[in-house]
């Protein structure tokens, strides 16, 4: 017999003073060789930015190893719904394409949403990634970041026609 899990509740609007100072959004210090900026915005079903969301990342290191002491980051969104991380591209783990695991919390989310960010310059690896390929072809693009001059852009649409693909926890 197993115990029932404790129910989830929303993070609410006023979490930033409790959650957002540690860890930081810099998984590696800015300026680190090989570092990449990952930024984007969180939008609601009306296309409006979500200014009180918290984005958390979990990733392997550049060698493709999950380590307890590396790879967790957290960033609250600003008034424009924007978050920004500095990190490194993770290596491949067990044949998976490089990816970041992304959790988004917000007022109005009674449970967090779980998604993944894949890299736009890894077309071949992405084509062989079992998780990405299990997503409907016309929705895969919601999981691939866009390349910008200053880094990668990954928006999260919580609802609507362009809703980001979310995974069952």
């Amino acid at each position: 017999m197993t115990l029932p899990t404790t129910p989830s509740q929303t993070v609410g609007p006023f979490f930033s003073f409790g959650l957002c100072d540690r860890p930081s959004a810099d998984i590696v210090p800015p300026g680190t060789a090989g570092s990449v900026g990952v930024a984007g915005r969180v939008f609601d079903g009306a296309g409006d930015p979500v200014p009180d969301a918290m984005v958390e990342l979990w990733q392997a290191d550049s060698e493709g190893r999950y380590r307890g002491d590396f790879g967790w980051g957290r960033c609250g969104t600003d008034d424009g719904g924007r978050y920004a991380f500095t990190t490194v591209k993770p290596g491949r783990v067990d044949g998976q394409a490089p990816h970041l695991v992304v959790l988004v919390f917000a007022r109005g989310l009674l449970r967090p949403v779980l998604t993944r960010m894949y890299f736009p310059d890894e077309a071949e690896a992405n084509a062989g990634d079992a998780t990405l390929q299990s997503v409907r072809a016309d929705e895969r693009a919601t999981l691939v970041a866009r390349a910008r001059d200053d880094g990668l852009e990954f928006d999260v649409n919580l609802q609507g026609d362009r809703q980001t693909v979310f995974f069952a926890l």
Binding site: T5, T6, A60, D69, V101, L110, Q159, A168
Partner: protein, 229 residues
């Protein structure tokens, strides 16, 4: 994973009585994927992650905060009842007057210069944790006419895997605001709602000093624990 989430005791994404879910709840079905290392691993925490007084929200400033001093303690286990050790627990809450230290909180109740309302600790080898704080006040919000949140403490927990981390709220027994609170009521199973309510605990009450409340947490989690030390 095919069990409807509501029957598992978890709230749905869309719960229209909680107005903020209407435009934020994802409405497309979640995609079920096989577990990979990405889903079963997570950050590990150690003593360096918490300070000596991080668990005591009443000793962060020059004086003691106003309000009813309480002790919140409990045990974190997995679904098999095994203690989850070195789990990071972060809490945040309103002060005794029902006001958060947050620019967005416009409730006309006083801030307390001796209370911020954020703390953290790690569970011990038995999965146990303990915070010292003050009992938060109820506060109004604009979800519906004359809406008030029952007193609660927010908790964020990391278990063995990043994807099984939990953010929840701990309530206090017998709160008369439960019936009209759509966040509490979003958990449809009454027995599951009970798991959000702490119990008064004479055993952790410190004579002449503070009442104790107990709040145990059960984290979901993968069967495999590849990074467990």
């Amino acid at each position: 994973m095919t069990e409807p989430i509501e029957e598992s005791g978890q709230p749905p994404y869309l719960w229209p009585d909680y107005v903020s879910t209407r435009l934020r709840a994802p409405l497309k079905p979640l995609v079920i994927v096989p577990e990979t290392l990405s889903e079963v691993t997570g950050p590990a925490f150690g003593d360096g992650d918490v300070g000596e007084l991080d668990h005591d929200l009443t000793r962060r400033h020059g004086g003691e905060p106003l309000g009813e001093r309480i002790i919140v303690s409990g045990q974190v286990t997995d679904v098999n009842g095994r203690p989850v050790r070195s789990a990071l627990i972060e809490i945040w809450q309103a002060n005794a007057a029902g006001r958060y230290v947050h620019d967005g909180d416009r409730h006309p109740a006083p801030l307390d210069p001796n209370f911020t309302g954020a703390g953290r600790c790690l569970t011990d080898d038995d999965g146990r944790y303990r915070f010292v704080t003050v009992k938060p006040g109820a506060y109004p919000w604009k979800n519906h006419e004359n809406a008030w949140r029952p007193a609660h403490i927010h908790l964020s927990l990391f278990g063995r895997a990043f994807t099984n981390r939990l953010v929840t709220q701990m309530y206090f027994p017998g709160d008369p605001l439960f019936e009209q609170d759509p966040i509490f009521q979003s958990v449809r199973d009454p027995k599951a709602r009970e798991r959000l309510v702490s119990s008064f605990d004479l055993g952790s009450t410190v004579p002449e000093w503070a009442l104790g409340y107990r709040f145990d947490v059960v984290l979901g989690g993968p069967a495999a624990t590849p990074l467990e030390a």
